[in-house]
Each structure stands twice: as structure tokens, then as C-alpha cells.
């Protein structure tokens, strides 16, 4: 995708975010109905999606990981959804509420959502506002092992006006909630009638949704099989069967795609080392898609070495990002400066570009008074410029990159030792309580594609200092705090963009992490598959499986 088309698309996305009534009417067409779908008649054929992790959570409200989303998008619907262009469109709702259309009150506290009246659950029962109320209440049920509760915990006084209309109050204006609702799948109230413990409801293992596909069966440890839901309220489905196949190894995952056993590659897609080979495969379509995740070296700002901005700048200048991307990652990812993914409307393009210059790094350190001492390692006031770098062990490309960085830093008198750990150890208290020196980490900063990053950069989100959030680098910046607080109270995307542009600039200047690159997912599918459309605003490639069909 070229820069030009991306910008055009995001601009259109901005219009959608305004939530005009027109968008609601346009929605079905926006979803890309295949030109000759009508001639296809009944759903037919099967697509096998390969996944490297196993989907195991089928209650979409319970704590889950990305790979579960792929199945949820096919089984369930949320009130709204994001198009690949970043446009917010209604799904179970009939329009996206905004201050302009009266769905959200002027003070941002009162919300009103109108629902479709033609939606049926997979078991034939009608979908109503009762189900929405049940869903929103279950999430904040203290006994329920819910996934994130951010936003939901602000909801008060849910009222059912009619089967197709629901209202609630927010404790304070919180604009990101609109985006969060695109990842909040609605589940049926009647499936929980008489269920004492929602954590162990039968529904959790044989879900009922409103989505384009119905639950068929799960062969645990191997695959999940879904079948077409004939009464789906939207377009499609055009497939008779959708299979999510679990292959626990990236190499085999790719081999099975090459041999044709898998029709479409899901998470983790094609690994960069196989990209070149993949492009030569006959009858396969290989496509790069900007991923929301940003790979960076996170610095623990409370460590004495990193309190000095000059050190952070010097480290950044000493790292040859281009060489890392080209040599180790086969040129697949893109160098970035911001934490906001490029597919977002809020991406700010004007940040200063990284320049690789060991000379500049040396100069910065010399000027700041870091003198070379024992073993050629710089030090200042008794603090040695020496630190540990950690990440998940067993990630080969990352381990190569670490060793490469290690050597580059050595050249400017900085000692970096590598200490990797198994995932569960790495991302436990070690990460959450900021016990690392530096960490190589891929983070998706935006929650549900909303630009709010309070959780990552607000000073009250530092867990290690008694806060509640994921500001693991411990950034403390009064201006950032102020901007973030303003941003969540604003509903107008244009006004919000000004705010988040400034946040991006401050973060880039402060360098709480050294941004390395934004991943590009390498999607692969068989040539005959139509309707596939990667969507950077969701966490899964299978968000629109309803639209997939085989060319006949």
C-alpha cells in the first residue's frame, strides 16, 4: 500500500468517525458485497484457517488472547465495527451514536443506542436490548472472569427503552468507549438462564451468537469447526464451513500453507524469513498488512542510567535500525517513530526521523559527561552505562537482533547484557512491576483502535509506583498527563487529533522507549479466495469471514 492511498483512506475514516447518519445507510455496501454474490446462491465450500496458537476461549467476554478473536468475529457481533479504513460503522446497532446525531449527550455522559430488529440468535430466538444489557452487566460482575473492564466500569443506569433501544449513563465523559464497544461482543441472556456460575456456563464451550457462522464442534488441541448461519442479518455467509486449524509451530504452519493443506494463514502469518520464498509460490496471494504492534526497546526510566535524556538519545542514535530491518527481518517491517499504527487516523507523520550515527551518540555521551572507564564502558557519578536487556526466550529473530544491538552499543561504550526468560516469567511481575532494565517488546498501544494511551503513558498508570495501568517504562510527564485527560473527554475526532499529535511528539522527544519498527503481517491465501480484507483496526484476519467466498 502506498502512502498516498493510505492517507486518502484515513481521511475518509475520519468522516466515518463523525458518525453521520449517512454512514449507517451506507454500511452494508461498505462491507464489500461481492459483485456476483447473488448468483452464488446457498453457502458452499470450506476454508481452513491456520493458527499458530490454539483458540480456547469461546465466551467472548472472558479473558482471552488475540487468536480467540478470530473465532469470535465469526460467531458474534458487536454493536459497531471498524472497517479496514478506520471507519466506525454500525453492526447490531442501526447507527453509531454521536453528539451530532443525539446518540451521545452534549456533556458526553448519556448514551442512547438503537438496535436492529431483524437479528436472530443461532438457536432461533430474537436478539433484543435485554441481551445488550445482560452483556454489559456481566462484564462488570465481580465474580465473572472478564476480559478488560476499561470503560465498562464507568457505565451506570442501563435502561431498556424498547426491544430495539437502550440507554445508559457514563460516570464521566469517556470517548474511547465507542471504540471499545467494537470489541465487545454481545452474548445471549437466555443462554445464562438458571446458570449459577457464569465462569462455567455450558455456553462457554458451545457458544451461541448472532454472527455469520454457527458453532459446530471443537476437536480440542486440533481445530474448531463452524458452519454457515443461514439467518444471518448481514451479507453472507458464502461459505458452508469455516475451520480454524491449530498448528503449534511456525515452520510447519508455513509448510502446510505451501503444500496447500491450509487455505489461509492466520496468526502468526508468514514469518519474515519465508517472505521471499512465499512470493514465488504459484496460486497463492501474498500481501503485506501494517500491524498495529510496534516493536521497541523499552527503557525503565527509573534506572539511574536512563534518567539522563542524552543517554536515551545516544542509545537511539547508536542503533542501526535500517540494518536490523533489512538484514535480520528481511526488509519486511517499516521503520517508525510513533507508537500509533500507520493505519490509524491519528497517526502523526511529522515526527523527527531516526538517524544512525555512532559519532553523534559518542558526542552526546561525551557532552553529558559519561566518560569511558573500566573495560571501555562509560560511567558518570559512579553509575556505569551498563544494563540488562530481556525479552521472551526462544524468539530467534529477536535474539539475533539483541545480539546485533549489543555489538552496536559496545562501540559507543555501552554495555548491554542479554538475559531472556520464558514468556510467563518475562511478562509477569518482572514486566508489570517494572523490574527490567530494558526490554525488547512488541506492543499494541491503542485499545480498540482508540488513540487514548492513558494506560501506557499517564503517570497514574505506573503499577510499580502504586498506580493501576501499564506504564511499565514509568514515564512521568505533566503535559502528557494533561493532554491525555483532555483527550478522553472529547468526542470530535478533529479536536482529538490535535491532542494526540502533541502526545506523539512529546513521547518521541522523551524516548521512554526506542521505537524500532512496525511489523507488517505477511498474509497468505490461496488465489481462489475472494472477499479477504485485512483490517489493521481489529486483532484478527478473520474479522470478515462472512464475506469470504471461493471463485467458482
Amino acid at each position: 500500500m502506498t502512502d498516498k492511498t493510505m492517507k486518502a483512506l484515513t481521511r475518509r475514516g475520519a468522516l466515518g468517525l463523525l458518525g453521520s447518519a449517512g454512514a449507517a445507510l451506507m454500511a452494508p455496501n461498505l462491507l464489500g458485497k461481492p459483485a456476483f454474490a447473488q448468483t452464488k446462491g446457498a453457502p458452499s465450500g470450506r476454508i481452513i484457517v491456520g493458527l499458530v496458537q490454539e483458540p480456547t476461549v469461546f465466551n467472548p467476554l472472558m479473558v482471552k488472547i488475540e487468536v480467540d478473536d478470530g473465532v469470535h468475529f465469526s460467531l458474534f457481533d458487536a454493536l459497531f465495527r471498524f472497517t479496514p479504513e478506520g471507519e466506525l460503522v454500525p453492526n447490531l446497532a442501526t447507527e453509531v451514536p454521536s453528539q451530532a446525531n443525539g446518540g451521545i449527550s452534549e456533556d458526553g455522559k448519556e448514551w442512547r443506542v438503537k438496535l436492529r430488529d431483524n437479528v436472530k440468535w443461532h438457536d432461533g430466538k430474537p436478539f433484543t436490548a435485554e441481551d445488550v444489557k445482560f452483556t454489559l452487566e456481566l462484564i462488570v460482575n465481580p465474580k465473572f472472569r472478564a476480559w478488560r473492564t476499561a470503560g465498562h466500569s464507568l457505565v451506570r443506569d442501563i435502561k431498556i427503552v424498547s426491544p430495539t433501544e437502550i440507554t445508559w449513563k457514563m460516570e464521566k465523559p469517556f470517548s474511547p468507549y465507542l471504540s471499545f464497544l467494537t470489541e465487545t461482543f454481545i452474548i445471549p441472556k437466555h443462554a445464562f438462564d438458571g446458570v449459577a456460575d457464569p465462569n462455567s456456563a455450558p455456553f462457554n464451550q458451545s457458544p451461541i451468537g448472532t454472527g455469520a457462522f454457527k458453532w459446530d464442534r471443537r476437536v480440542a488441541g486440533d481445530r474448531v469447526e463452524l458452519v454457515a448461519h443461514a439467518d444471518y442479518h448481514g451479507e453472507g455467509p458464502f461459505l458452508k464451513q469455516l475451520v480454524f486449524k491449530y498448528i503449534p509451530d511456525t515452520t510447519v504452519h508455513y509448510t502446510q500453507f505451501r503444500s496447500g493443506d491450509i487455505d489461509l494463514l492466520g496468526r502468526m502469518y508468514i514469518t519474515p524469513d519465508n517472505y521471499k520464498d512465499a512470493k514465488t509460490l504459484p496460486d497463492r496471494i501474498i500481501q503485506l498488512q501494517p500491524a498495529p504492534s510496534i516493536e521497541s526497546i523499552a527503557l525503565n526510566l527509573e534506572r539511574p542510567q536512563f534518567k539522563d535524556l542524552a543517554v536515551r538519545q545516544a542509545l537511539y542514535a547508536a542503533i542501526d535500525k535500517a540494518a536490523i530491518i533489512d538484514a535480520i527481518y528481511y526488509g519486511v517491517p517499516d521503520s517508525v517513530e510513533s507508537y500509533v499504527p500507520r493505519s490509524s487516523y491519528y497517526y502523526y507523520d511529522g515526527l523527527p526521523r531516526h538517524e544512525y550515527s555512532p559519532d553523534k551518540a559518542n558526542e552526546l555521551l561525551d557532552k553529558a559527561g559519561w566518560k569511558r572507564g573500566r573495560g571501555g564502558i562509560r560511567e558518570k557519578n559512579g553509575v556505569r552505562l551498563s544494563f540488562k536487556n530481556s525479552t521472551t526466550s526462544g524468539n530467534h529473530l529477536r535474539e539475533q537482533m539483541q545480539q546485533f544491538v549489543q555489538q552496536m552499543l559496545q562501540q559507543v561504550g555501552v554495555e548491554m547484557t542479554i538475559e531472556n526468560m520464558p514468556a510467563a516469567v518475562m511478562w509477569g511481575d518482572f514486566w508489570m512491576q517494572s523490574r527490567f532494565d530494558t526490554a525488547v517488546v512488541g506492543i499494541t498501544y491503542l485499545i480498540g483502535s482508540d488513540p487514548d494511551v492513558t494506560n501506557r503513558f499517564h503517570s497514574k498508570s505506573i503499577t510499580a509506583q502504586g498506580g493501576a495501568g501499564s506504564n511499565n517504562v514509568q514515564l512521568k510527564n505533566a503535559r502528557v498527563d494533561e493532554l491525555l485527560e483532555q483527550g478522553t473527554a472529547l468526542f470530535d475526532p478533529k479536536q482529538r487529533k490535535v491532542i494526540y499529535d502533541e502526545v506523539q511528539q512529546i513521547v518521541r522527544n522523551e524516548l521512554p522507549f526506542l521505537p524500532l519498527f512496525a511489523e507488517n503481517y505477511i498474509h497468505g491465501r490461496k488465489k481462489g479466495i475472494n472477499g479477504f480484507k485485512p483490517n489493521g483496526n481489529t486483532r484478527t484476519e478473520s474479522w470478515n469471514a462472512a464475506q469470504w467466498y471461493w471463485a467458482s
Binding site: A323, A327, I328, H396, E399, Q403, I418, E419, P422, V425
Partner: protein, 295 residues
């Protein structure tokens, strides 16, 4: 020192090279091959790195994935363009040392527990042996992996972990041996002379169990090298950039098609080292006439 032990030690020390055991060992062709192999390997690892033109940590991204015999890269290069030969020898130092020290540590632990259990007997001996049984009831790889996840995987830690999971056999051997020796004359004599329990256990009895211990220890080195390679291969062992034979193989599967030498070379080294220790152990077993009832 009493007369009995003095003669026992003297007979053990005097002209060991003329003893029957030594002669039997020298006739064991495999054992000699083993000695030769491991000597060559150890010398290469000790001095080789100084003779090679490359530093094992020197990254040269342009030379990545060079096949063997590219320029001065006799064994090719790895994904970061580091010389594989230099890394192999550097890794050998670590793997061999880990194996060696794991053996020393585990033999020590095993001998102490075995002697105490065998000599004291009673509830203490029983409790100690049940403890041994409990450790044996774990498949060792499970235990090793769980502990590697718990502790920081530095070479020292890996050595300790391997030792902590491989002492049981020695303690069983020693316990059996000590129990059978406990009522022998020289021990009884020592007791009558009023020697302390510790003295009798470690100065009088233990030297008599040295044969089986040496055999078990040799085989423990072999197994320790293998165990290190297993856990490092699975990513729980020695962490990069420090090379070990096992972690050089970690990730090699990914490049099996494009750079097979990455997988083949370290594996040959491991097999060579382990084989030679197994050969030596076999020779020692025959030479020291240790019953072949442990495996």
C-alpha cells in the same frame, strides 16, 4: 591413621600404572579411542579459539549464512555472520565445563547422601533413600525444565540444575556399597579404635566404593552434556550470546533447508564428546570390574 587404611591407600597408590585395572583399561580399545577423542576435542576447545582468525562474538551481518569453506570460515557462519568454527569451540568450552562440573557436584551430593544413608541406616537412611526415590520418580527432563524456568539460566545455574537432577544414581550405588561394607572387619576395627562416624564414613568406607563411583561419574559427564544440549535446545538453557552446543542447535531447525550446516556441525560435536565419555566409562567398568547392574 590406622594401619589398615594406610595399607589400603598405599596399595591403591603404589604403581597404579602397573595395576591389573590399568592394564585391563589399556587393552580396552574403545576406551582408548574415547580418551583420544576427548583429548583432541578438549585441546581444540581450549586453544583453538586463539588460532582462528575470528572472534566467536564478532557479528558480520554481510557474511551471514556463509556455507562451510567460505574464505576462512571453515565451518561457515551463523545467522548473524559469526564464524561457526569459533563459536563451536567456544561453545565446547562451556558445554564441556558444564558437563564436568555438573559431574563433580552431582557425584559429591550423591556420595554424601549415599554414604550417610548407607552407614547410618535406620530412619535417616530410609528417609534419605525415599527422597532419592522421589527424585527418581520425576522424569528428569521435567524436573530440569521446571528448575531452569525458576532459576536464571547462567552456565553456573545450569550446572547446578543438572547436578541437582543427576545425583540420585551415584547415591544409590554408594548406599548399596556402603551398606555391604558396613559390617566388614576394617570398619569394625575402626569403630573399636574409637574413630568418629564421619571419619569412618568418608575416610575408611568411601575409598572402597571408588570404583563404581568413577564409572558412574564418567557416565554422568556424558549424560550432563546431553542434558545441557536438551535444555538449551528447548530454549531454557544457556542464553545467547554465550554459545553452547545445545543453544547453537536452538533455532537451527528453522534454517534446516537453507543452512543445514548450522544443525549438523554442533550435533556432531555433541555426539563425539558424549560418545567418548561413554567409551571411557565402558572401559573403566571393565577395568574396575564393576558389576553391570546399573544403566
Amino acid at each position: 591413621m590406622n594401619a589398615i587404611s594406610a595399607t589400603a591407600i598405599a596399595s591403591g597408590r603404589s604403581r597404579w600404572w602397573r595395576s591389573r585395572a590399568t592394564q585391563r583399561f589399556m587393552r580396552h580399545r574403545l576406551a582408548l579411542i574415547g580418551i583420544l577423542l576427548i583429548t583432541v576435542l578438549a585441546l581444540a576447545c581450549a586453544f583453538g579459539p586463539y588460532l582462528l582468525p575470528y572472534n566467536p562474538l564478532q557479528i558480520d551481518i554481510r557474511a551471514r549464512f556463509s556455507p562451510p569453506f567460505t574464505g576462512n570460515h571453515y565451518l561457515g557462519t551463523d545467522p548473524l555472520g559469526r564464524d561457526l568454527a569459533a563459536r563451536l569451540l567456544e561453545a565446547g568450552r562451556i558445554s564441556l565445563l558444564v558437563g564436568l562440573f555438573a559431574m563433580i557436584l552431582s557425584t559429591f551430593i550423591g556420595a554424601v547422601i549415599g554414604v550417610v544413608a548407607g552407614y547410618r541406616g535406620g530412619w535417616l537412611g530410609n528417609a534419605l533413600m525415599r527422597f532419592v526415590d522421589a527424585f527418581l520418580a520425576f522424569p528428569s527432563i521435567f524436573l530440569v525444565l521446571a528448575m531452569a524456568a525458576l532459576l536464571q539460566p547462567s552456565p553456573v545455574m545450569i550446572t547446578v540444575i543438572i547436578a541437582l537432577t543427576s545425583w540420585m544414581e551415584v547415591s544409590r550405588i554408594v548406599e548399596a556399597e556402603v551398606r555391604s561394607l558396613r559390617e566388614r572387619e576394617f570398619v569394625l576395627a575402626g569403630r573399636m579404635l574409637g574413630l568418629s562416624g564421619t571419619h569412618i564414613m568418608f575416610r575408611e568406607i568411601l575409598p572402597n566404593a571408588v570404583g563404581p563411583i568413577i564409572v558412574a561419574a564418567t557416565l554422568t559427564v556424558a549424560r550432563a552434556i546431553l542434558t545441557e544440549s536438551y535444555i538449551s535446545f528447548l530454549g531454557y538453557g544457556i542464553q545467547p550470546p554465550l554459545p553452547s552446543w545445545g543453544n547453537m542447535l536452538n533455532g537451527a531447525q528453522q534454517y534446516l533447508e537453507s543452512a543445514p550446516w548450522l544443525a549438523i556441525v554442533p550435533g556432531v560435536a555433541i555426539t563425539m564428546a558424549v560418545t567418548s565419555f561413554n567409551f571411557i566409562g565402558d572401559g573403566l567398568r571393565d577395568a574396575l570390574d564393576v558389576r553391570n547392574d546399573h544403566h
